[in-house]
C-alpha cells in the first residue's frame, strides 16, 4: 500500500479470474492492474467476451478472484469471507444491471428500499421517495415492475443503487436493453446523480460516445487492459 491509497478508492493488483467448468479452466481476467480515483467516473469498453462484466463484478465483490489483490480505500477485499463481502456491498457499492433485476413481487418504492432493509438501516420511506422523484418516477411509487416500461424499470434500479449512499456505483451496460431515447435519458440521469451524490462511477458500455463522457476510458481485450487513457 502506498501513499496514494487515500486518493485511490479502488486498487487492483495483478487480478486474475479463472472459472472451472466440467472439462477445462477458462482464464477470464489475466492480470489486471488498475487504480481508480475517488469521485471519478471510468468507463470500461471492449469486445463482447473481453471480460468487462467480470471486471465490474470483481470490483463489486460478486466475483471471487483466483489470484491478485483488490483494495477498497486501502482495505483488502480479496480475502474477505462471503458474508463480509455482502456487508461491503451493502455499505459501499450500488449495482445497476443490464437486465434491471428488480424483485417482481415488490413495488418500485419497496425495490428501492430493499438494500437499506437488508442492511437494517431502513427507518422510513422518505429517502426512497426522494430518490424516485429525482429519477422522475414520482407517480410510479407503488407500481410493480411488470407495470413499468423498460426505461422506468432501469430508473428504479438506478434509484435503488443510490439508496445506501454508496461510494461506488457499478453499472454494467445499463442501457443495453433500452431504445435510443430511453438510453440517452438514463445515461443523463446516471451522470447527473453521480455528480450530485459525489460517488465513483464504473460504467461498462459498448457505446464510445457515452464512454467519452467519463474521466477515464479503459479498453479490455481477452482479459487484459490494452488501453488506459
Amino acid at each position: 500500500m502506498n501513499n496514494n491509497s487515500k486518493k485511490h478508492i479502488i486498487e487492483l493488483e495483478n487480478v486474475h479470474v479463472s472459472l472451472k467448468n466440467n472439462v477445462e479452466t477458462v482464464n477470464i481476467l489475466k492480470g489486471i492492474n488498475l487504480k481508480i480515483l475517488k469521485d471519478n467516473s471510468i468507463s470500461v469498453i471492449g469486445e463482447s467476451g473481453a471480460g468487462k462484466s467480470t471486471l465490474a463484478m470483481t470490483i463489486a465483490g460478486l466475483e471471487l478472484i483466483s489470484k491478485g489483490k483488490i483494495f477498497f480505500k486501502g482495505v483488502a477485499i480479496h480475502d474477505l469471507e462471503e458474508d463480509e463481502l455482502a456487508n461491503y456491498r451493502s455499505k459501499n457499492v450500488g449495482i445497476i444491471f443490464q437486465s434491471f433485476n428488480l424483485l417482481p413481487s415488490m413495488t418500485a418504492l419497496e425495490n428501492v428500499n430493499l438494500p437499506n432493509q437488508i442492511s437494517g438501516v431502513l427507518i422510513d420511506d422518505k429517502k426512497g421517495i426522494e430518490l424516485l422523484k429525482s429519477v422522475g418516477l414520482k407517480k410510479r411509487l407503488n407500481h410493480y415492475p411488470h407495470q413499468l416500461s423498460g426505461g422506468e424499470q432501469q430508473r428504479v434500479a438506478i434509484a435503488r443503487s443510490l439508496i445506501s449512499s454508496p461510494e461506488i456505483i457499478i453499472a454494467d451496460e445499463p442501457t443495453g436493453n433500452l431504445d435510443k431515447r430511453n438510453s440517452e435519458e438514463v445515461m443523463k440521469l446516471i451522470f447527473k446523480l453521480q455528480s450530485d451524490f459525489a460517488s465513483t462511477l464504473i460504467l461498462v458500455t459498448h457505446d464510445e460516445t457515452i464512454a467519452k463522457q467519463c474521466n477515464k476510458i479503459i479498453k479490455l481485450d481477452n482479459g487484459l487492459i490494452v488501453k488506459d487513457e
Partner: protein, 840 residues
Amino acid sequence: MNNFKFWKLSIKELRGSFNEFKIVITSIFLGIFIISAVGSLSENLKFEINNQRSQLLGGSFELSTTYQKFPQKIKKWLEVNGKVAEVIELRTMLSSNKNLINKRRLVELKAVDENWPLIGSVSITPNQTLNQTINNTNVNGVLIDKNVKNQLSLDLGDTLDLGDSRIVIKGIIKKEPDRMFSFATFGSRVLLSIKTLQKTNLIVPGSLVKYKIKFIPNKNNINLSYLNKLVEGTNITVRGVNSSTNNFNNFIERTSLFISMVGLITLLISGIGISNGVKGYIIKKIKNIAILKSLGAKNMQVFLIYLFQVMVIFLLSIIPALLAGISIPFILSPIISSELFDTFQATIFLKPIIISFSFGLIVCLLFTIIPISSTYEIKPIQLIRHAAHNIHNESSKKIKIFIFFLICFLSYLIVIMTNDIKLSAYIFTSIFVSFMILSTLTNIYFYILKKINFKIGSLSEFVRKSIISKNSFSKTIVVSFSIGLSLLISLNIIEESLDNKISKTINQEAPNHFLIDIQPNQIDTINKLASSSKDILFLNSQPMLRGRITEINDIKVENLKVNKDVEWVLKRDRAFSWTNERPKNSKLISGEWWKKDYNGPLLVSMGDKIAKGMNVKIGDNIRFNILGRNFEATIYNTREIIWENMNINFIFVLSESSLTNAPHTWIASTTSENKEINNNFVEKVVTTFSNISSISIEESYKAIKSILNLLIIIINSIALITLLSGVIVLTGILDVSKKDKLYEIAIFKILGASPKKISLLWLYEYLIIGLMASLISLLIGCLVSFILLYFVFNVDFYVNYLTLIILSFIVPIVITVFSFFKMIKLVLSKPLQVLRAHNH
C-alpha cells in the same frame, strides 16, 4: 443485521407465490388432520368414560362371585347400608322353531332385579319401561338385543322355550347402561328378571353363573378397602369405580395410538411432498435470491427469509387442519351419543392440539431445512452468467446439527405419544431401516440404469437418459410411491398369511364343536352316544371348575411381579380341570405326570409358557380359591399348550382329589371327518339335555373373521391413502418440471416428432418409473411381512400371487394415467410460442 426485519421482507417476497405451495399445504393438512382428529376423538371418549365410570360399572361398587349366591349376611348388610341391585349372568342356548326352522344360538342371559339399573336407564324399542316388559313376570317378558333378533330371526311378541318356561319377546334393547360396549362383550344378550330366570330352572349346581351386586353406599366412609374387609374369606371380588380396569379405555388408547402412528407415517411421507414443493419453489426463486445477495444480503438472511415463508405456509395449512381435527368429535357427537353415551358433549382438548402441532412443526422443519439451506449455494454472479439451475444440497455443519436435534425431538414426541420407550424405539428403528432399504434399493436401480446402454437414438435409450438425467425427479417419484405401496403389500401378505393359517387350523386341527355346561351325570350318556356313532367321532371331555389364584409361594397375587403377557392369568377367574390320566396329545416340557392311582397332596400341571412368565417352576406352590375354599397345589410338571389348534386347553390341570366331588360341569369337543355326522350328534346332545350348550367353531370363526375383516378394511384404506399421497408428490413434480417438459416437447416438435410419438415417449418413461416403484415395494413388502410373520406372529409366510400382481400394477397405472392427463395439454401446444416464451 442490527435492525434487519426479515419477516417484513419475507412476506413481501412471498406475494403472489402462494400457488407454488399447493402441494406443501395439502401435505401438511393431511397428516396433521389425521393426527389431531384421532387425538381429539380419543381424548373426548376417554374423558366421557371417566365421567361415566359409575354408570358403566352400574354403581359405585360391583361385587361379584361365580357359582355361588351371595351369603345372606353380606347381602343384608349391603341393603342396609346403601342402594343395591342384583344381577345374575349365565350362558345358555336359545332355540327358536319359528317357521319350522330350528335355529340355536348361544346367548348371554342377564337377569336383573327391580332395582336395576341404579344409574342410568335402559332404552327399549318400542319405547317402554322395564315394568312394562321384563318386570311383568306374569307373561315372562324378555328383552333381546339386535344380534339375537337377527340370528334367530325373532320379532316382537314371539314366544320361545327357555329352560322349563316359555318367554315372550317384549322389545329390543337399544342401550344398556352398564354393559360396556356391545362389541367389547362376547355373545348376544337376553335381558330378563331374576324371577323369570328362577322359573326356567336353568341354574343347577355346578352351572357357571356369575352373581353380581351393584352397590351405592349411603355413607362416605364405605370405601373399597372397607368392602374388601367385609368380603374377606369369601370368593367375592369387589371392583370400585377407580379400580376397575377399563378395557374400553385400553381399547381406545391402542386404536388411537395405531391410527396416530399411521397419521405420523402419512405425515412423514407427505414430508417428501413438502420437501419437493419447497425444493421446486426455491428453484423458481433462484434469480430473486441472487438479486437479494447482490444487494448485500447475507446467506443467513436469505435462509431466514425463506424459512419464514415456509413457516407462514406451515401456519396457514396447520390451522385449518387443527380446526378440522378438533371439529371431528363435534361432527361425530350425534353418532356417539346415540351409540355410546347419552350425554356426550364434545369438548376441545389441548393435548392433541399441542402434540399434532409439534409433530407438524418438526416434520415440516425436518423436510424443508435441506432445500432451504440450498440457498447458500446460490451466488449473485448468476445474475450475469447462466449457471445451470442445479442446486446442490451441501448443507452446512450448523444445519446438520439442527437436523440431528430435530430428529431427537421427533423421537421424544413419539415416546410421549406412545408412552412406551421400547415401542418407540422399535417404531423408529423400523422406519429408519425401511427408509435405508428403500433408498439403497432405489440407488441400486438408478446405478444399474446409469450403467446399461441401449442403441443410441432408440426409444429405450431416450427414456433411460431422461430418467437418470440430473434435473429429473424420477428418484423422488419412485421413493414416494414405494413407501405407500410397500405398506400396502406387507399388510396384504400378513393378512393373507394369517387368514391362511386360521382356515387351515379350522379345517384340519381344530375340533368342530364344543359342548359346554355338561352335568357330571350326563357325561357317561354322551360318551356312549359318541361311541355308538357309526362314523369315527372323536370326543374329548374334561371336567372343569372356575377359580382364582390367590397366592404363589405365599406371596399374594396383588403383590406379585409377573411378565406383562401373563398378567391376564391372574386377573380373572380361571378354569381348572383335573385328571390322573395324562391328557391325550399333551406334551410335557418339564417334569412327569403323576401316577394313575395318585392320592396324595394336590399336584398341578401348568402351561409351560405361563409358568415361565410367572417365574414359577416345579416344586413351587400355588394357592387358589374355588367355590370359596382355599386349595394349595404343588407344581409337578409343565406342558406345552398350543392355543392355535383350538383344542380344549387348561392352563391348570390338578390331580384328583376331594375337589372331584364339588359341583362342577364338563366341557367336551367333538371332531369328525364327516360334518353331517358331527352335526347330528351335537343336535342329539343338545336336544336330549337342554342345559348343554354347543358352540360351532366354524361359526365363531366367521364371527371373528367379520371383525377381522372390518379391521383389515380400515388398515388397507389408510395404506391406500398413504399410497395416494404419492400422487401429491407427483403433482408437485409435474408442476415444477412443466416448463422443462414444455421446452422438450417444443424441440421434439420442431425436430419433427408427432404428438403421438411424444406422448408415447412419456407414457413409456412414467411406466418405467412406476414399475421401478412396484419392484422395490414388492421386495420391501415381502421382506417386512416375512420378518413380522416369522418373528412376531409365528405364522408361515403365505402369498396370494394374484393380489400381489394386482397391487403391483396400481402404481404404474396411477402414475402413467395421472401424468398423462396432466401433460396432455402440453403435448398439444404450439412449439414456436413455447420456445419464444422460454427464452424470456
